[in-house]
């Protein structure tokens, strides 16, 4: 593998931190403040794209800032998966910021500067996770992300927000300190190495019991991935304002969780070890499979729109984990591809939920009967978003699920095929009724409908951008698949 030493990854991470500082300093002038964010996002996106050609060629950008422990440094490495994830997070940062402006400004929300400040820090941390070259660096940014998103979750500062925030930290900080950290130290103590290496770091002959224990500690330790039973923080975090739920709790934070798990499975354990040790692969697949089905079933019962979306997210995250657990090339490619596909679909849904709430104050599905007639465009965007999450053409979700299904057939865990299909049916069962009721059911509360105002363009435009992207991703999925495939090939071919 050819590596290119480059400081660019560090610049990319720092861009949004600098933006955060400017946001804090220029808080008094909202227009200037938001301009900084857009500029930072644009610069970041440009720099990321400039790395793409070489990365797709199978090369790696590397940079070590300093040594932190013997043989382990604060080091960055850009590969196809990291670049893909960073691209998704940063490109979605732009519509989310537009949406935030549309949502927060008319309400004269308090602490907008704080909101944008921590948002930028969170993006920096997410990209830091994406570019981490070893587990320690990843852990540092993982924790930074937990801490920087806490003020966003508790943004409303009422009792619900405090409760949600408490749950958020208990789960995320608790599991990472109590499970992921000791697991990481044990790996370091056993192997003296925390770098993500093709083929894993463990010497052959490491006891399977130890591997199983470590695997379980990592799977649950990165609770951002929402594996049951450590998933309850995500519905709790839905007290946050809509943009936070949209970008962080559909994309950045939760995907950082699965991303960390992918890194551990492919770079620490190694795909071969996973494939050749049935117990390891089975544990991943069974835990993810259970979460997949149970989360979808719970989602069916939720009347609160955002809760239903949150449980749907928990299920979809497990698609990705299950895909990697299959330890086949197409499974891993499908899992990697599902990161952007689900991200675009789910962010559209969350933004729609936010727009609906802003327009008429509806939080529950039972309150939005007939709303589609009043806001056809918003609900159409919702429809496209749900198609993408269910995995139906012509949306991007179809492509990633296709590869996941092929991956399950290639692997030893063929039962996963049935799990994927069942879950997709369940996805349809909890999303399509919302769309149906919004368009065709008789309004339950006509006064609410009459009072509803069209949301301002700043909240509507982002919906169109992301839902259009869902469709475009179907037709232009080849480019994204290149990223996923480069990554999968790098880690499966020996």
């Amino acid at each position: 593998m050819e590596t290119i030493p480059s400081f660019t990854p560090v610049w990319i991470i720092l861009t949004s931190s600098v933006a955060a500082l400017l946001v804090a300093l220029l808080g008094r002038w909202p227009n200037v403040r938001e301009t900084c964010i857009f500029a930072a996002a644009a610069i970041k996106l440009g720099l990321l794209l400039s790395l793409a050609p070489a990365v797709l060629d199978g090369k790696l950008y590397e940079f070590e800032v300093m040594e932190l422990l013997p043989n382990v440094g604060l080091a960055f490495k850009v590969d196809a998966l990291g670049l893909l994830f960073a691209l998704v997070s940063v490109s979605l940062w732009i519509p989310t910021t537009i949406f935030s402006m549309g949502l927060l400004r008319p309400l004269k929300q308090h602490a907008q500067t704080r909101f944008f400040f921590f948002f930028a820090i969170a993006i920096s941390s997410a990209v830091g996770v994406a570019f981490s070259a070893n587990l320690l660096t990843l852990f540092i940014f993982y924790e930074a992300l937990s801490l920087s998103t806490y003020p966003l979750v508790t943004h409303n500062q009422d009792d619900d927000a405090i409760k949600g925030g408490r749950k958020y930290l208990t789960y995320l900080l608790g599991t990472s300190i109590a499970l992921a950290l000791p697991a990481m130290i044990i790996v370091y103590q056993q192997t003296g190495n925390l770098d993500f290496t093709n083929g894993g770091v463990f010497a052959s002959g490491t006891s399977t019991t130890l591997l199983v224990v470590l695997l379980v500690m990592f799977l649950f330790g990165f609770a951002k991935a929402g594996l049951m039973p450590f998933h309850a923080w995500l519905p709790g975090a839905m007290v946050a304002p809509a943009p936070v739920s949209a970008l962080l709790h559909a994309v950045a934070v939760v995907k950082v969780g699965v991303f960390s798990i992918i890194r551990v499975l492919t770079g620490i354990f190694g795909v071969d070890l996973l494939a050749n040790t049935p117990s390891l692969s089975t544990i991943v697949c069974v835990l993810a499979g259970i979460t997949l089905i149970v989360a979808s079933l719970i989602a069916l019962t939720q009347d609160n729109i955002k809760s239903r979306l949150a449980y749907s997210t928990i299920g979809q995250l497990s698609y990705i984990i299950l895909g990697v657990g299959l330890a086949t090339k197409s499974g891993i490619a499908g899992a990697a591809l599902h990161i952007p596909m689900h991200a675009f679909g789910k962010i559209t849904l969350f933004l729609c939920a936010g727009a609906i709430y802003q327009a008429c104050g509806a939080k529950y599905i039972s309150e939005i009967h007939g709303l589609g007639r009043k806001f056809p465009l918003t609900m159409a965007a919702f429809f496209i978003g749900s198609l993408c999450v269910i995995g139906l053409p012509p949306t991007g979700g179809f492509v990633s699920k296709w590869y996941l299904l092929t991956g399950s057939l290639d692997s030893a865990q063929q039962w996963a095929f049935a799990i994927f299909l069942t879950s997709s049916l369940l996805n349809a069962a909890y999303f399509l009724p919302i769309v149906y009721k919004a368009f065709f059911a008789a309004p339950t509360d006509t006064t609410r409908l009459d009072k509803a105002k069209e949301p301002p363009p700043l909240t509507i435009v982002p919906l169109f951008i992301t839902s259009a992207a869902c469709v475009l991703l179907f037709f232009f999925s080849g480019k994204l698949f290149q990223f996923a495939n480069t990554f999968a090939e790098m880690y499966t071919a020996q």
Binding site: L74, K108, A111, F139, Q157, R166, Q189
Partner: protein
């Protein structure tokens, strides 16, 4: 000049103390600057010595030039003087003690004026004398001399605690009983060592002990010395005196005592374990080792549990100190490379963290007048800079990377995993979690439990930070925690790894 640097480290604060006591008679305002100058000289000398030691190895200094004399008829030279030594084991701690003392002396000025109005006359003389004692314990190369400095430090700290009046008298008295018992045990142990080896010089003792082979008397001496050190450092179950002493002492006294006094006692334990006796003593008595490790875990768990129940910020922080002591004793007694490295890194890191913590608490006390958790409502709006420093410090105590607390804890856990002492791993993690809970409890009270002042119609909370002379040291310490964390690797490579006994398994 540079050969006299070791003694300058002690002379700075000692002369500062004497001059401060003297000027306190006729010009009390002069005491404080004198002490600050003395500490600054000491700090500069300690800092210079780090580089000398890193380059050229241990520096030995014979007090008054009374070194080794060759007695007619004896083959070996005979030690007649007191030696002071700066080597890989203590050089970092010397910088930490003198540096923290210097910052604290600047920091406490305003606190002393408000808390001890009319009684501040001798405060800085005692302050400087305490620092002299602590630096002396750290730098001395003689086990009896160590006892002398221990008493100097102890006597001045009793007085500094009793400055608090009221319940502080009782707390100081408790400390006095416990401290005196500890000193007695230590001295008794030194007696055993002297009886067997005929010398008090650390280099000589460590050369003679292996020649004596298995000796019951030496082992008893070892245990007595360690018991003494444990009583001084408030290791479980000798910890009863500490929470009250630190909570009821004036905030200015606690700001100096809490970070330094216990850490120096831990250093004394490390010195005894690593250089006076050899680490084999621990490796070859597995029953004692496992008992101490259990005690360490128990210390951490119990202190964490009690810290959860506290309603007073100072007392809560005192329980943090107790749990951190468990970290270091446990790490040292793991008696393997990462464990000892962790203990040594943590001595320095914890001195800095505790100092930053009590400085932040002092700022809060200065403005709010008290430190009950319920009084903290809105404190994040009132003192944002102080609270930012507080949050960074708590993050370091929890062990959030890249602060120094993370890396020392990393080594400790690695050592425990290597030795297979899982209860110690669990205790360390539990303590982190408890500290995280407390941090966010404070954030909830201080930030979220008030109507946000930026929302229209809510009462405004005016910003009122502590004075700059307090705020700047606090922020410096907090930023220092991050710098120390990023520099851990360098410190371990250049200094701490060389302080480890060579015989140790990797």
């Amino acid at each position: 000049m540079t050969e006299h640097l070791p003694i300058i480290i002690i002379l700075g604060p000692l002369l500062g103390a004497v001059l401060a006591a003297f000027t306190a008679w006729f010009r009390p305002r002069l005491s404080h600057p004198l002490v600050v100058v003395g500490l600054a000289i000491s700090f500069a000398a300690a800092l210079k010595l780090v580089f000398i030691v890193a380059d050229a190895g241990a520096q030995k200094y014979w007090l008054g030039g009374w070194g080794e004399k060759v007695i007619p008829g004896e083959k070996e030279p005979f030690v007649v003087g007191i030696q002071i030594t700066v080597d890989y084991l203590n050089t970092l701690l010397l910088v930490a003690v003198s540096g923290i003392a210097l910052l604290t002396s600047v920091y406490t000025r305003r606190l002393v004026d408000t808390e001890l109005t009319g009684r501040q006359r001798y405060f800085y003389a005692l302050f400087s004398l305490l620092v002299t004692g602590l630096l002396g314990i750290t730098i001395t190369g003689d086990i009896f001399n160590l006892y002398v400095f221990m008493e100097i430090a102890a006597l001045s700290s009793y007085a500094l605690i009793a400055y608090g009046r009221g319940r502080a008298y009782m707390a100081a008295f408790n400390y006095l009983i416990m401290g005196t018992m500890g000193a007695c045990l230590y001295l008794l142990g030194v007696g055993f060592v002297f009886a067997k080896t005929g010398t008090l010089n650390i280099d000589d003792v460590s050369a003679i002990i292996p020649e004596l082979g298995q000796s019951q008397a030496l082992f008893v001496g070892f245990v007595l010395i360690l018991l003494g050190a444990w009583a001084k450092m408030a290791f479980f179950p000798f910890h009863g005196w500490l929470p009250n002493a630190y909570a009821y002492a004036p905030t200015a006294s606690t700001a100096l005592l809490a970070p330094l006094a216990t850490k120096v006692a831990i250093y004394a334990m490390l010195r005894i374990m690593v250089t006076v006796y050899s680490i084999d003593y621990i490796i070859h008595s597995p029953a004692t080792q496992s008992l101490v490790l259990y005690l360490s875990s128990l210390a951490i768990v119990a202190a964490s549990f009690f810290s959860l129940t506290q309603t007073n910020l100072k007392k809560l922080a005192a329980y943090f100190v107790l749990s951190e002591i468990g970290y270091m004793v446990g790490g040292a007694w793991l008696a393997n490379k990462p464990g000892l490295t962790g203990a040594m890194v943590h001595v320095v890191a914890d001195a800095a963290m505790t100092s930053a913590l009590f400085m932040a608490i002092g700022c809060i006390v200065y403005r709010l007048g008290q430190a009950q958790l319920d009084d903290l409502k809105g404190v994040f709006f009132k003192m944002p800079v102080t609270m930012a420093a507080f949050v960074v410090t708590m993050a370091a105590l929890i062990g959030v990377p890249p602060t120094c607390g993370f890396f020392s804890k990393w080594y400790l856990i690695q050592g425990a995993a290597q030795a297979g002492v899982w209860h110690f791993v669990a205790a360390l993690l539990l303590s982190s979690l408890v500290k995280a809970i407390i941090l966010f409890r404070i954030i909830e009270i201080g930030y979220n439990r008030v109507p946000h002042p930026a929302i229209e119609g809510n009462p405004a909370i005016p910003r009122k930070e502590a004075p700059l002379s307090m705020l700047i040291p606090t922020v410096t310490m907090a930023l220092g925690l991050i710098a120390l964390g990023l520099g851990t690797s360098t410190l371990v490579n250049t200094i701490i790894s060389k302080a480890l006994p060579a015989a140790l398994a990797p």
